[in-house]
Amino acid sequence: MEAQSLPAALALVAGGGAGLSPEKRAALGVSLTLLQHNYRFERVWFWGCIQGVRGSYYIAEGLRPDRAAPRIRLYSLNCLDWSLLTPATKEMVAQAEQLKGRFQGDPSFEYNFAEINPQAAETLFEGGKEPVIKEEARLIATIEQIDRAVGIVPRGAFVKTPLGSVHENRHFEGLSLVEAKKLSSYFHFTEPVNLKNKTLLEKANLDPSTDFLDSLEHDIPQGEQRCLTEWKVGGRKNILYDS
């Protein structure tokens, strides 16, 4: 969520029961602004929080002018002091997939592969590395996976310029009621995978400036994303639940 509109956005997402305490909200408002200044970000988004057993991680993303560039992610334990996270590598993601169970809440906690998967531990050992993985690496990999699977934006919110960079669309007024109920009006905000596989007939209908991302329609399993329309008096909010 956009840092400035955080309070309003939190009120809309509160249907699920998860939220932030007033203290955290206030702290975020302050520290995200400072973060933006320190790192010279153009925008700062609050990504969310991952609850561990002993503590929670609060994640923020900083954006440079090109929104499609790899994101710069930071985490914090108290919404005030932020630490940079390195970009995710495929190796990290593969290792983290084998870990199960909850996060501990301590970024320096080490998961011992020997207990979890002895074979993998051996291969790692032969490779000259220790068969442990730190919780920080697991955090990076998990965030990357979550973002890839459910980082969603509405169609038309971002435009691609002919030079290749991606910007917010200033003329975007939101989706109409009918459009908002369709899964095809939402896109994954990651490198497109399915776009090249479309037939020429489908591609002819696409507008290259707004339709440059994968739509949700073709996600497997079908209908995994549920579009729930909650009718709130004074407005309507669409909550996309991913099961």
Partner: protein
């Protein structure tokens, strides 16, 4: 030099007189010096005479007013319209788009200005929701009002939802204030409609199509309706038995052998008001919609609910398609999950509740009462040690009930009623199941693998005087409880499932049952071939011959 504003538009079309007015005195060094004087203008030689100039203007204007033979327009009017439009709208870079503007003005002539159809007023989509919510805000009018007010002031079953929401907000848990208030009003409606003694906002369970808002209540004594449904089914069953017996007598000879399988007896559900059915639950999809009462839960449903994991759709009559097949629809599944969550996660500070002194029941004491001498421990203590919290809802045994019942005794009871002539099989004596007693401390809760069952935190580390102790369950993600002084509350926001580190895999179907015991008498074997039979016969004869010889020898020996 600026051209003076307010130039007559018709003059603008006439280039000849463009510079006649408006240019101020030229300085001696400027090229136009002296040209603005009459008789010194550069065009003086063309039309020197003023009268002729006026004539020329009129001629030009007449020419412009000439009506076109094809379209009936004239240039004068058209240019007037174009310039009026431009001056009204003041677009940017007008000179670049002047042709388009001219075209648009001509095109607009063909559009009818009057549209006889009026747009129908579009009902905003949030209209229905708003209507329902408005109904919440209407106070009942009439004479009843005064009586109700008097009663309520004395003892109100309505909980203070906003206060609870405030404390949970400190923890970062909860719904938006608006929604909490709607729920508050909806609960007020519930208490006025149903005969409720105590009521509590239990929580919100999310669903795929709609969500559930759940209220936990205790009905006033004597107000519970007996479920007529059960009596009807019992009578039906008895009627069916009689019919079956008659059929049996007629067809006894042709009947295939009856199976000796006796299904285990149905474990009866607990009485309303005890055990898992201690409270009655009402649900609605959204505040403003009518509350629906959930049926009491049976042990079979709880046992099955432990084995399946299904998301709720939001419709109470939706079927639950699963393996093992769930005995009931979504309303029953919801009730079973509510029972499990309540049993697993409803906690209170230790000592707040105590057993009444006159307890003569067995160990499975179901009742508790508030301890008037309870002194709340400090918030720091409540967070540090889990022994300051205790469960106040009875644990559900494996059987699906809170109080164990011996199925054997059930069977004997059933058999006496039905007077069957079948042989009684001896069942192994089942051991009585026991669970942790009421008011167990949280420190004795088992975790899952190496994750403790509960996580406790302060709501704020910066202002310890006003912080609230909050615990969240790791076994049932979404269950929270807070305690601050004498106040405490439990709540649930989530999908309604237990936490498991592995993904859910449904149980495999049981192995195929053996139809009959296989022994040598019925196992198939290859028929012996001709050679084998002959060989066998020969061997038999040899043996017989051998025996005869032995007999002869014995006989000879006897002699």
């Amino acid at each position: 030099m600026d051209q003076s504003p307010g130039l007559n538009p018709s003059q603008g079309a006439d280039h000849t007189y463009a510079y006649e007015r408006g240019h101020g005195p030229y300085q001696p060094h400027e090229p136009g010096y002296g040209l603005d004087q009459p008789d010194y203008s550069p065009y003086d030689d063309q039309i020197p005479d003023p009268k002729a100039r006026m004539l020329a203007i009129q001629n030009a204007k007449a020419y412009l007013l000439k009506t076109s033979t094809t379209s009936g327009l004239n240039l004068y009017d058209h240019l007037a319209n174009v310039l009026t439009k431009i001056l009204d709208e003041q677009p940017t870079n007008t000179v670049d788009i002047i042709e388009n503007i001219s075209k648009d003005v001509k095109w607009a002539r063909f559009q009818k200005k009057m549209d006889t159809l009026r747009d129908e007023y579009e009902i905003p989509p949030t209209y229905e929701a708003a209507e329902k919510c408005k109904a919440l805000f209407i106070k009942e009018n009439g004479e009843e009002n005064e009586e109700i007010i008097e009663e309520e002031i004395g003892h109100s079953p309505l909980p203070n939802v906003m206060e609870t929401a405030f404390y949970f907000e400190q923890a970062g848990v909860g719904l938006s204030k608006d929604e909490s208030y709607y729920i508050f009003l909806a609960l007020k409606n519930l208490t006025s409609v149903q005969p409720i003694q105590t009521c509590r906002f239990w929580g919100k369970i999310l669903g795929l199509e709609m969500n559930y808002i759940i209220a936990e209540a205790q009905l006033r004594e004597g107000e519970e309706e007996e479920e007529a449904g059960e009596e009807v089914t019992e009578e039906e069953v008895k009627g069916m038995d009689e019919v079956e017996e008659q059929d049996e007598e007629k067809e006894k000879e042709d009947e295939p052998p009856k199976s000796t399988y006796k299904p285990p007896p149905d474990i009866p559900k607990e009485e309303n008001g005890t055990g898992a059915n201690k409270y009655v639950y009402f649900v609605c999809n959204e505040p403003g919609k009518p509350w629906v009462k959930l049926p009491p839960v049976t042990p079979a449903q709880i046992v099955c609910a432990r084995k399946i994991k299904k998301f709720f759709t939001g419709r109470l009559d939706a079927p639950v398609v699963s393996f093992p097949p769930f005995p009931g629809n979504e309303a029953n599944y919801l009730r079973a999950q509510i029972a499990r969550i309540s049993a697993g996660t409803h906690v209170s500070p230790t000592g707040f509740y105590q057993f009444p002194e006159e307890e003569e029941e067995e160990e499975g004491g179901d009742t508790y009462e508030e301890n008037p001498e309870f002194e709340p421990p400090a918030v720091a203590e409540m967070v540090d040690s889990l022994s300051t919290w205790a469960h106040h809802v009875k644990n559900i045994l494996k059987q699906g009930r809170c109080v164990w019942i011996n199925p054997q005794k059930l069977e004997e009871k059933n058999e006496e009623e039905e007077e069957d002539e079948e042989e009684e099989e001896e069942m192994d004596e089942q051991q009585a199941e026991t669970g942790p007693p009421l008011l167990t401390l949280l420190s004795e809760d088992e975790g899952i693998k190496d994750i403790p069952a509960w996580t406790a935190q302060h709501s704020t580390n910066l202002i310890p005087q006003h912080s609230v102790a909050i615990i969240q369950s790791n076994r049932w993600p979404g269950a929270y409880a807070f305690a601050s002084g004498r106040k405490f509350e439990n709540i649930y926001f989530g999908w309604g499932h237990k936490y498991s580190p592995e993904n859910y895999t449904p149980i495999l179907p049981p192995p195929v049952q053996e139809e009959y015991p296989s022994g040598p008498a019925i196992t198939e074997a290859r028929d012996p071939t001709l050679e084998e039979e002959l060989a066998f016969k020969a061997a038999q004869e040899a043996l017989a011959a051998g025996e005869e010889e032995e007999e002869e020898e014995e006989e000879e020996g006897d002699d």
